[in-house]
Symmetry: C2
Subunit: 450 residues, 2 copies
């Protein structure tokens, strides 16, 4: 009842989590998230290595295809008038492949922005949790200082004023004891004080890494977009040097695509293992890093009805002590003020402090309740395991599409190039204009071959 | 200190908010959000009407351009061998326009998903607020019932057991009075009970509308994508009937694009007015709908340090009463149990109830604190005024790009069509294959004209 609906692993997490994992000796590895274990690291590296295998296979395929094309069917003699039967198919398949690559780039931009959204949700949740934790510390400090001030100044003045009547002094001493007890109880509530782990620092580190990841992907996407556009331009203008340069660039981008695919696949698999059961891992990690008791961590990370508030006892004791101080001050006001008018000022000041302390106490109760911090935790998990994972899968789709498209383009480009009319103007800057009559003739020849 | 960093209007909101507004008589209208005022409605309608003006102008421009093209320069005689000097330019500009349209479609898909994200953030914040409000009601009900049960059963038993000693009966009566006071104070905390406005219902309505908006945009985007792809196919295959059908479809999509642009512009302007200062409007609206006091609404909607908790008094009184019940029960346990062993059972049961009540009380303090509900309010505003507005601006960019691209395509398509070789096979299904020798010849003629 107390906890809002939290994080639930998505279907993608379940699906990826169920994929079999193996280490370098191909022995099965359990799919629990254990990044410090060597076997698990090997399993993830093996997933990344699959992309390397894919790269090798596609390079072999391209090489075999092109060698077969070169050796088994010599290119058309230049200037041939008869349309080559497969030429049109080659150019069209090249264009289709590049269009698929462009669609992949669109998907990549979407995935990159989605991943970035997820990670920024994670870091904003961390910042929010940091705000809550530092507010708790600050509030405890402020309240304890306020109470200490009241004990040192007002209660001492009061005891001096009432010195003649011992029973009133005893009541003031009782209030002092209670105030000191409240201060002591409250000090125990600042549970994050002196903890070496700062969510702020984690958030900053995450944002820093994410910034560079985002930038690297944007650069890769722009590079691939430029390669696609310039290849299309080279095909349209029949510029041999442009097609050659773009073939080389396509090879580079193919390698980068397979490389990014390996990283994405390993990250997605690791993330799915983490996301299928994040609580245990996070609990253990936080306990190691912070040294906090498991009661407190369980309360905040699980926030279920079954787990009682570990601060309940302290809160109840503080609350009772505050109520007792109030009734003692009221008793003093009734008894002492008619006889000692000078006691009124410190008493009023004490009541003021008590009201402020009660307000702060309610704020502390609200801040210490697991609802707020657990909501941040759920938001962080949702950012990482829903948005970021989804974005990662879109990036994986982009890498797959672009690897396929570039492999197809690499198979087609040299064949399309071979169909171009011969020209040795490798630095043709002006005369590859299709509207130039001579070029137009060459263009007609090429188009007639389609 | 208590409130987390909330919503701040973005630069886009400021920019749109500063645009001048006018009513139908072109008198300036203040840019405060006032959807119920006729002048403001007129200003928004005028913004939407600007898109209608744009549609009219672009249709006139297309008509003038095509009439000038038809009358001032008759189309090439069919089968002309010499390349038409402007023909290539026409086809290329048509293709470039369609590619710009495709890029616009990509932007549109992104904007649509961004808007949908923003609105779903709004509705999930509403659902979360609804959960908090109903938990408060439920918790109050449960606690009051528990206290009532204790008063009716255990305290009555206790009074019967202790009937012999009047001072103990008086103490039990005191505890009963305090428990009744706590129950009464707590009942006043269920502030949302009986309020006619349900955030759940609002969230469901918002999600319902958003679903249809999303679907309509996806259909529009797919329609435009199909038009672009089939037009490109028609150009590549020189299929006259396809180009004619796609010209008609382009006209339809042009009208739809300008229409959606009008709606988006009016919504974006209205949203910017709302988002530049949402608190006042929302406060007034909620006060009208719920009839809650402005103290409570100010506390939750502003949640600043300067606004004190309107439940502070009730909470403090309940807390003191609970502490008093505790000390009375402890006194009874000390005094009565040695003499009346049968008093032990109801006393233990009462202390159990008191502990549960204190736990619930702390949960209530946490739920009633403005932090949680204000965070939902900020999340809802951020969803609506950041993500949804940003998505809307991307959709506006899509509409602009597609309107421009379609207008350019509509100017170019009839000219490109006129360049096609004559053929009366309007239902050519097979023989427009470029690899078919006869078609290939036509294709060469067309390409030579480029």
């Amino acid at each position: 009842m107390g906890a809002p609906p939290g994080y639930r692993p998505s279907a993608w997490v379940h699906l990826l989590h169920q994929l079999p994992r193996a280490d370098f000796q191909l022995r099965p590895v359990p799919s629990g998230f254990a990044p410090q274990e060597q076997e698990y690291q090997q399993a993830l590296m093996l997933v990344a290595a699959l992309a390397g295998l894919g790269l090798g296979l596609s390079l072999i395929f391209i090489a075999v295809y092109l060698i077969r094309f070169c050796c088994c069917r010599p290119p058309e003699p230049p200037g041939a008038k008869s349309p080559s039967p497969g030429g049109g198919c080659v150019t069209w398949s090249c264009i289709a492949a590049l269009l698929v690559g462009c669609a992949g780039i669109g998907i990549g931009f979407y995935g990159n922005s989605e991943t970035s959204d997820g990670v920024s949700q994670l870091s904003s949740a961390l910042l929010h949790a940091n705000h809550t934790l530092s507010t708790i510390d600050h509030l405890v400090l402020e309240t304890v200082e306020g109470l200490g001030q009241a004990v040192r100044v007002e209660l001492t003045t009061l005891e001096e004023v009432l010195a003649e009547r011992t029973e009133l002094v005893a009541a003031a001493r009782g209030a002092r004891r209670q105030a000191e007890a409240v201060a002591q109880q409250l000090q125990g509530l600042a549970f994050w004080q002196g903890v070496p782990l700062s969510p702020l620092q984690v958030a900053e580190e995450v944002s820093f890494v994410e910034e560079y990841r985002w930038l690297a992907y944007v650069l890769l996407l722009l590079l691939e977009l430029l390669v696609c556009l310039f290849t299309l331009l080279g095909l349209a203008k029949q510029s041999k040097w442009l097609v050659v340069v773009m073939t080389a660039m396509s090879l580079l981008v193919l390698v980068l695509s397979w490389g990014s695919m390996g990283l994405e696949a390993a990250t997605a698999v690791g993330l799915s293992d983490f996301c299928s059961n994040p609580d245990t891992y996070i609990l253990n990690l936080t306990q190691e890093e912070t040294g906090l008791s498991s009661d407190i961590l369980n309360y905040y990370f699980l926030c279920s009805h079954a787990i009682s508030n570990p601060f309940q006892q302290r809160l109840t004791l503080s609350q009772r002590a505050l109520a007792n101080i109030h009734s003692q001050l009221q008793g003093l006001e009734r008894e002492a003020v008619p006889q000692f008018p000078s006691a009124q000022k410190p008493l009023l000041s004490l009541e003021e402090t008590l009201n402020v302390t009660e307000g702060n106490f309610h704020q502390l109760v609200a801040l210490l309740h697991c609802r707020g911090l657990h909501k941040d935790y759920s938001a962080a998990l949702r950012g990482l395991c829903e948005d970021a994972l989804e974005g990662l899968l879109f990036l994986l789709l982009f890498s797959l599409l672009s690897a396929g498209a570039l492999a197809a383009a690499l198979c087609s480009l040299p064949r399309a190039w071979a169909l171009f009319a011969p020209s040795d103007d490798y630095d043709d800057t002006e005369d590859d204009d299709p509207f130039n009559p001579q070029e137009s003739k060459r263009f007609v020849q090429w188009q007639s071959s389609i």
